[in-house]
Amino acid sequence: MRLTLLLLIALLFQTVTLVQSANSADEIVSFDDPVQREMYYALLKEYRCLKCQNQNLSDSNASLAGDLRREIRDQILAGKNQTDIDDYLVARYGEFVLYRPRFGGKTAVLWIAPFALLVLALGAMVMIIRRHRRPQSDDTPGGEPVAAVQHIDERLEKARRLLKD
């Protein structure tokens, strides 16, 4: 049983192609400072694993992700903040590595458009409601004279009453 277990673990090494011996303990980080620990776990979700099909550093098993996690840990322990680490990674891998697009010329539309759209849509809504309010004048924008509609309403009311009896 022990032998098969070791064989399975060997198989795991083979399929995952990790070089473990050098980095065995580095994967597992322990921070004394809870603030640093929070920052570490938060940052892992901010960066993209470049080898993967859309995963962040927190979830990825790729060896490059492990290297980057190690690097981020070192930088946090050295007192760097998120901007420093962002810049470090972007200098090497480009903006692609950031899951949170930095606000700038390229991304202004991205960040602003949804709210601009909301404002526009709310404005349209106000106009639509205005158009649908029963106006006091004879001309209804809908194209139907108010009087005619009221006339039909009355006849329907009459019909209803007749049906009820």
Binding site: Y41, C52, Q55, V97, L110, L117, I129, H132, G142
Partner: protein, 685 residues
């Protein structure tokens, strides 16, 4: 033999689809009733042939026919039967055939359950559905034929991706496709309405249950996808805003707007043009989703193997269907004017606001999903848009919806006053906040974000319950009143409460999840989120088609022993994939989640990722309520009594007479092609 039969059946299906698309539509132009009458039999024939083709492919899977290339790529002799059956839709070619199958079934269903629809309308609707069918059948036959043979025949197949060998994953595509394709029915009606230049309340009443059911399936499908990701992928998350996830979410958002807009259009004759546009958009987004997932244009863990040729075909198809219908909309929508009026404080306004928020949210998701593509196409390089963007944009858009959900459901149509209800509502509002603060502090810990989200969820529930109480308030015989209240009302209430439950799950999990990745050896223990986990056993186990290393952990909280959790690292025989099978201790108030990372120090220790996830089950519970609500609403008796079939011409001027409970007046659709409905006499819903 059987695969060739399947291929032949597909060709015949395509022929019938052509007949279905062309002949009835031609009949509406020439006035030839015989041609229009071809619609139903053509729909039936199409369903027969596509079902036959699908059955042939299923047969090839079940009988291990590895001479079929698709079966060889997707199946294996050691694959359990259930996954051979679900493997039919596990790869690209089969899943497109599956789409054709579902589409043919929906089309046939429309043909069967439409005795009361005017012939011209039905002919147009079925023709449109036929066109859509042609597109997909042609796609299968031309670029994605699942019946291609493979010589020499391999002894065994490549097997199904182990990630797909899970019951949740097996049923997730059928549910999704039933939803996507279901929206094609609303789409067909919208196009038929645009062609005919009218959309009357009888037609709208016919459309509502179908759209509700499609929406229900899509809700279930997306929920299953999230459920599967949580249970099978080993990262403990339930939504990543991945492009493929977004591709299914966008039609859902627009579909939700659609079912609400249908209500207003049917009851009051307003927003008809909007309803039509939403129907077109919902189905367009479904098609767009198909494109995104199969074309390789976006990177995703979920996408099928990318093929730009297929992408080009779908894009062209998209261009014809979406472009054509949007052009038709631009030119014909003016015919669908509404004449009814409503005030600022009315259910119509609330629904309008609700729909605007949903559509803007969908647009935001679309923008975020495609933005990297836009930037790259313009030559500005590569960038990523991750969950940070989507959460930042989507959540603020959803908050107002939560505010108005309960409120809108109790407002009267056309004109209402809040003054009479201002005090009870204010009381409910304050009570929600107080209760939220109490619950947060008692159950977890005080955090403003949690209190805010919980307040909203409690508010939705409270206002929904208030609406129910208000509706039943003057009834002497409560039980009889309950039974006489339309199913649609209960469905709506349940769905809205489902939204509240969902919000609780999302908020509390996001805010209070605790996680740590630690190195553990046998007999080590570690504490996360108030629970202690002790590594007790390490074994190897053998599954149906995999070997695994299993780690067992004993869980305790304080002094109480809570049982064991087992987490596995699996090695599948055939594909040599490695999979992480997380150990999950499920609970209504929290999940405990353990995933094995990598072996360390030559295997004497493991990296273990431990998470505590409060109230995460409420997420899927909430979606379950929403789906149940949708189904209940669709089964409302009133939809089945759509009216007397027309024996004379279509243009009979018999207005629909319905008054709602508070005597707000009736709605008349002019011009008129309506049926006299059998009114329930209740507040219009």
């Amino acid at each position: 033999m059987i695969p060739e039969l399947g291929q032949f059946a597909l060709i015949l299906a395509l022929c019938t689809a052509v007949v279905l698309a062309v002949v009835p539509l031609a009949g509406t132009i020439t006035g030839h009733t015989g041609w229009m009458a071809m619609a139903r039999p053509a729909a039936g024939a199409q369903a027969f042939f596509v079902s036959l083709a699908y059955a042939c492919l299923t047969w090839s899977f079940v009988t291990h026919d590895f001479s079929v290339l698709y079966v060889a790529n997707t199946s294996n002799t050691s694959l359990p039967l259930i996954y051979r059956l679900s493997g039919v839709w596990g790869g690209h070619e089969g899943s497109i055939l599956f789409w054709c199958f579902i589409s043919a079934l929906w089309t046939a269903a429309v043909a069967v359950f439409s005795r009361s629809l005017p012939q011209v309308l039905l002919a147009r609707v079925l023709s449109v559905l036929g066109f859509v069918s042609i597109g997909f059948l042609l796609f299968v036959l031309w670029t994605s034929n699942p019946f291609e043979r493979l010589f020499p025949v391999p002894i065994d197949g490549a097997s199904l991706n182990p990630l797909l060998q899970d019951p949740g994953m097996a049923i997730h595509p059928p549910m999704l496709y039933l939803g996507y394709v279901g929206f094609s029915v609303a789409f067909a009606f919208a196009v038929a309405a645009l062609i005919g230049g009218q959309l009357d309340s009888a037609t709208l009443r016919w459309m509502r249950p179908w759209t509700n059911i499609a929406w229900m399936f899509l809700t279930v499908g997306i929920s299953l996808g999230s459920w599967w990701a949580y249970n099978e992928l080993g990262w403990g998350g339930w939504w990543f805003w991945d492009p493929v996830e977004n591709a299914s979410f966008m039609p859902w958002l627009v579909g939700t707007a659609l079912i609400h807009s249908l209500a207003a259009s049917e009851k009051r004759g307003v927003f008809k043009a909007w309803t039509v546009l939403l129907a077109v958009l919902a189905f367009s987004l479904s098609l767009l989703g198909t494109f995104l997932v199969r074309s390789g244009v976006l990177t995703s863990v979920h996408s099928f193997a990318a093929d730009p040729t297929r992408g080009l075909y779908i894009l062209l198809f998209l261009g014809v269907v979406v472009g054509g219908s949007l052009l038709l909309y631009a030119v014909r929508a003016h015919k669908l004017t509404s004449t009814a009026s409503f005030e600022l404080v009315s259910r119509e306004s609330a629904l309008l606001l609700n729909n605007i928020l949903l559509v803007v949210a969908s647009a935001a998701v679309l923008l975020g999903t495609l933005y990297p593509l836009f930037v790259d196409a313009l030559g500005y390089g590569k960038m990523s848009v991750g969950e940070q963007y989507f959460n930042a944009v989507f959540v603020p858009l959803m908050l107002p919806i939560l505010l108005i959900v309960g409120l809108g459901a109790m407002l009267n149509w056309k004109r209402d006053k809040l003054s009479g209800r201002a005090v009870p509502l204010a009381v409910l509002g304050v009570a929600s906040i107080v209760l939220a603060a109490l619950l947060a502090t008692q159950l977890l810990s005080f955090k403003m974000s949690a209190v805010a989200s919980l307040s909203l969820a409690i508010w939705v529930t409270a206002s929904t319950v208030y609406g129910i109480v208000h509706r039943l308030r003057n009834k002497r015989k409560r039980l009889s009143a309950v039974l006489h209240t339309p199913a649609a009302f209960w469905g709506m209430s349940i769905a809205h409460v489902g939204l509240a439950v969902f919000t609780v799950g999302v908020a509390l999990t996001s805010i209070y999840t605790e996680e740590q990745t630690v190195r553990m050896e046998l007999n080590d223990d570690h504490s996360v989120g108030g629970y202690t986990f002790t590594f007790t056993h390490l074994d190897e186990v053998r599954g149906a088609n995999f070997d695994a290393i299993e780690a067992r952990f004993a869980v305790s909280r304080g002094n109480a022993e809570l049982g064991d959790i087992s987490a596995q690292k699996r090695f599948y025989d055939v594909r040599q994939d490695t999979m992480t099978e997380a150990g999950i201790d499920a609970g209504l108030t929290r999940d405990l989640f353990i995933a094995l990372g990598e072996p360390l120090d030559g295997g004497s220790a493991w990296s273990v990722r431990i998470q505590t996830k409060p109230f995460i089950r409420w997420i899927w519970l909430g979606t379950l309520f929403m789906a149940a609500g949708g189904l209940l609403a669709a089964l409302d008796r009133r939809y089945r009594k759509v009216g007397v079939p027309s024996t004379t011409s279509d243009r009979t001027a018999r207005p629909a007479v319905r008054s709602d409970k508070n005597g707000q007046g009736s709605s008349a659709s002019i011009p008129v092609t309506t049926r006299v409905s059998v009114p329930g006499g209740q507040t219009g819903l």
